[in-house]
Every structure is written in structure tokens, then in C-alpha cells.
């Protein structure tokens, strides 16, 4: 999992056991989760490219205050852009409006191009802010934070189990895959490949359920009563409050400017 989630100790509450956290990492995770959500909601509602760009710069500044590896983050953003690039390229040609240029007889409109740019900037700003505020915490911290923010406990427990077993099952998958490789399996475009992958995944499901049975037995043996104690030392300090106020002020300024721009023009 360390390679999956980018942490040395993904299952510990403390981020990066021993290391001193980055500037953003020192704030209360609850503030960071709420801030990321508010930022996402507000940015999605922005209408002007200028202010969306402002949000993107804001996200980039936050990013520079974390100790996330730049290359990995950029790679993740590029992967996200890969999802939407087709849609963005098509938008200018499908939006009616003032024609700008034409390729192969298809007219590209100015409005469509602007819309595509706006969508692209908004998507990148939200993802960048989310990665910089949230992906620095371990999955377990995220679970504890959501629990403290009054998410349903069953959902939080479910998430903690999922996080715990993703690495185990990913290893299991690699073991099965290695066994297939040793028997000369090569992935190609044929029915045999798809059948083999199906058997592989079916086996993974069966084994994971057998594992779950053992886990439940072990939990019952230790007197599991339907509740996990949440051990952490989340404390809302004065600087967390200051961070919240500063963040909120910036976001409100962004929204007000966006609204005023619409009214003024």
C-alpha cells in the first residue's frame, strides 16, 4: 500500500512516523477536509475564467506549502486531464456561437472554447487543492477525521477495513499473477486471456471472503462489540481557527468578485 497511497506507514494515525510534517500537514485534518470540500463546491460554481485561474493559483500556492513529491502530483493531474481531454476538445465544435476557425468543415465557436478552458481550469484547481490538502494524510487519519465530522460510524469502519485490506489483496493478486506467469501465461486479445483474468478475479473474491471469515472469528475472540475505539490526538488549536478564517476569507473574496463581475458586465 505504501506505493499505492504514497505513505511509509499508511495504517498509522500519525502522518510519516517521526518526520516533521509540512506546513499544510500541521493543521487539524478536520479543517483540511472541510476546507477542501468548500473549495470544491465554490470553484465549481465560478463562471469567469479569470477567477477560476485565481483559484488554480491559490491551489498551486497551497501545493507548494506541502511536501508532496511534485512529479507524482503532476502525473496524477495529467492522468485526470487525460480523462477529459476528448470532451474539452469537442466542446468548441458542439457549442453554437460566433465562429472562430474551422477544421475539416467543423466550425469552432468562441463560446465553446471559453467554456472548455473554464471546465479544464476548474477541474485542475479542485483536484490540485484536494491532493495538496488531503492526500498528505494517511487513509486512517482520513477515517478518524470523517468519524469526528459525524459521518456514519458504519461507513467509517467499512472504509478502515477497505484501506487495511487493499494492500493485502493487491499482494495476493501479484502472487496469483506470478503463478500464472510461471505457467507461461501472457495477456493477449483472446478468450483465453479474458477467461484467465476472470478466474483470477473470482479466486481473489473467494479467498478474500475466506479471509474475512477468519478476521471476523478473530475479532469475536477478542470481544468485538460493534465499535472500534478511535485512538488519535486531534485537537483544534488557535492556528487551525486562523487557517480556517484565512481560507474562508479568500474563498468568499473569490466568489464575491465573480458575482460582481457578472453584475457589472
Amino acid at each position: 500500500m505504501s506505493h499505492l497511497f504514497g505513505h511509509d506507514q499508511p495504517l498509522s494515525v500519525q502522518a510519516r512516523g517521526g518526520h516533521s510534517p509540512s506546513f499544510v500537514g500541521t493543521f487539524d485534518p478536520r479543517v483540511r477536509v472541510v476546507a477542501a470540500c468548500v473549495f470544491a463546491i465554490v470553484v465549481v460554481a465560478l463562471h469567469q475564467i479569470e477567477f477560476a485561474l485565481g483559484a488554480l493559483i491559490f491551489a498551486a500556492i497551497t501545493m507548494s506549502l506541502t511536501d508532496l513529491p511534485l512529479r507524482v502530483t503532476l502525473k496524477r493531474m495529467a492522468a485526470m486531464d487525460g480523462f477529459i481531454i476528448v470532451m474539452l476538445v469537442m466542446l468548441p465544435f458542439t457549442t453554437p456561437g460566433t465562429p472562430m476557425f474551422s477544421i475539416l468543415g467543423a466550425e469552432a465557436s468562441k463560446e465553446g472554447l471559453m467554456h472548455a478552458i473554464l471546465v479544464g481550469i476548474r477541474a485542475n484547481a479542485v483536484v490540485l487543492m484536494m491532493l495538496s490538502l488531503l492526500s498528505g494524510m494517511t487513509p486512517v487519519t482520513l477515517g478518524h477525521t470523517l468519524y469526528r465530522l459525524k459521518c456514519p460510524p458504519v461507513l467509517v469502519h467499512l472504509m478502515m477495513f477497505t484501506v487495511r485490506y487493499i494492500s493485502v489483496l493487491h499482494d495476493e493478486y501479484h502472487r496469483l499473477r506470478m503463478a500464472m506467469k510461471l505457467r507461461g501465461f501472457k495477456a493477449r486479445n483472446n478468450a483465453h486471456t479474458y477467461r484467465s483474468f476472470g478466474y483470477l478475479f473470482g479466486m481473489l473474491v473467494v479467498r478474500s471472503l475466506e479471509r474475512a471469515e477468519r478476521v471476523l472469528e478473530a475479532m469475536k475472540c477478542r470481544g468485538f462489540s460493534g465499535h472500534f475505539p478511535m485512538i488519535d490526538d486531534l485537537a483544534f488549536k488557535r492556528r487551525d481557527g486562523a487557517f480556517a478564517v484565512f481560507f474562508l476569507a479568500l474563498i468568499i473574496a473569490l466568489v464575491l468578485m465573480d458575482l460582481m463581475y457578472v453584475v457589472a458586465y
Binding site: A40, I41, V43, V44, R76, A79, M80, F83, I84, M87, M90, T95, H115, V119, G120, R122, A123, V126, V127, M130, L131, L134, S135, P139, L142, P152, V154, L155, H157, L158, M159, M160, F161, T162, R164, I166, V168, L169, H170, Y173, R188, A191, T193, Y194, R195, S196, F197, G198, Y199, F201, G202, M203, V205, V206, S208, L209, A212, E213, L216, K220
Partner: protein, 225 residues
């Protein structure tokens, strides 16, 4: 398959969020505390499915297996798939926060529907028929997911309609592959551990024995008295 932040209209985002909360509520209600380990481990399994790449033509796609998730988990597939999407969004940047509701509905609802439609038939049939039905469930849930994605795009503006159509047609090979892989998976499960495909009331293996708890309680009371 993931929609990103910033593309959809606010109405679609809010609608998706409301539907996702409703689905989560329903799914969590069907999730007793002693089924959490099984559901969590299966949720992790379906997360791993998204890391498995299968060749399709010159390129490759990752598995989704939502049809199988619906068959095995029923309504609890909703929270299970939501958790996977949440982890992907927060730690990998796939999808986004405001579209989390829409993405969850788009992927989990077809899974649940496939489970409701095919589970009864699958649990009653022999492995070969079960495999065919499982393949149908796998392809069906992907098809429905792409339809849902297309609808969410089309509802956000007419300019997205061509993109929505493209999404649908681009996913036809993925439907076929998912169907084939799901069929093989269901065949193996039906042979190796058929109890997994039985409906929830038939599998009592995971539920705490009520008599045992009762006996323990009585024993405790007896010692106190």
C-alpha cells in the same frame, strides 16, 4: 468513466449527491456490524479490480467488476463502491469531490440493479448457466453506467450531447470484456464457493448466532444473580 469536477451543471451535482446519500442510507441499513469485515474485504477486492489491466485491442482497460459486486453484495455494493471511489478521488485525484455523488450513483446503482435482477436466477442455476447470467450482469451494469454517464453529461448542457454519445460507443468493447471476465469469475465462484452467490437470507454463516448470544447473556445474568 469518472466525470471530473467543473464539467457538470450544479443541478446535476446536487441531484447526484441526494441520490447517493439515499443509496448509501439504504445500503448501510442492510449492513449489520458483523458483516463489515466481509463487506470491507470485498470492497478492497473491487478496489484491486480497478488496478488490474486487461488488454483490449492495442490498448488496455482496467476492470470495474461492478456487476459482480452487485451479485455478491446486493444493496451493500453501494457503500462498498462508494468507499473505493472516495479513496480514489482523495488519494489518486481520479474524479473529484463535488462529482463524488454523481460518480457513485453512476457506478453503484447499476451494480445494485444488476444484483437485484440476476442474483435470484444465478443462485438457482448450475455453474454454466450462472456464468452466462453473470456475464450478462457484468455487461449490463457497465452498459447502464455508460448510459448514466451520458445522461449526466447531456443534462448539463446540449453541447455535451456529442461527447455523451462518444462515451457510450467508446465503452462497447469494455462492456464485452467486462461481460466475459465476469462470466468466468461467476463460473469459478459457482464451482468453488456457491454460497457467495446465494441471496442474503440464505447465507447465515456470517451472522452472529442469536441463540449463542442469548445463552451468553443468560450465563452472565446467572452469575450475577
Amino acid at each position: 468513466m469518472h466525470i471530473v469536477d467543473g464539467a457538470l451543471a450544479p443541478e446535476v451535482l446536487i441531484g447526484g449527491g441526494v441520490l447517493a446519500v439515499a443509496g448509501l442510507g439504504l445500503g448501510l441499513r442492510k449492513l449489520p456490524i458483523d458483516k463489515i469485515p466481509a463487506t470491507g474485504v470485498l470492497s478492497a477486492t473491487f478496489f484491486v479490480a480497478s488496478l488490474i489491466h486487461v488488454p483490449v485491442g492495442p490498448s488496455s482497460v482496467h476492470l470495474i467488476m461492478s456487476g459482480l459486486a452487485g451479485l455478491v453484495l446486493g444493496w451493500t455494493a453501494f457503500p462498498a463502491l462508494f468507499v473505493g471511489l472516495l479513496l480514489q478521488a482523495v488519494f489518486f485525484g481520479f474524479g473529484g469531490l463535488t462529482v463524488l455523488g454523481v460518480n457513485t450513483v453512476n457506478i453503484a446503482f447499476p451494480a445494485v440493479l444488476a444484483g437485484l435482477l440476476f442474483r435470484g436466477m444465478v443462485s438457482r442455476s448450475n455453474p454454466v448457466t450462472a456464468a452466462v447470467l453473470g456475464g450478462c450482469a457484468g455487461a449490463f451494469s457497465i452498459a447502464l453506467t455508460t448510459v448514466f454517464v451520458a445522461i449526466s453529461l447531456a443534462l448539463s448542457g446540449d453541447a455535451f450531447v456529442p461527447a455523451a454519445k462518444l462515451v457510450f460507443f467508446a465503452h462497447i468493447p469494455i462492456m464485452v470484456v467486462e461481460g466475459l471476465v465476469s462470466a468466468a469469475s461467476v463460473y469459478l465462484i459457482a464451482k468453488v464457493k456457491p454460497a457467495l452467490l446465494q441471496s442474503a437470507d440464505q447465507t447465515s454463516g456470517f451472522e452472529m448466532q442469536p441463540t449463542a448470544t442469548l445463552r451468553a447473556k443468560q450465563a452472565g445474568e446467572a452469575s450475577n444473580g
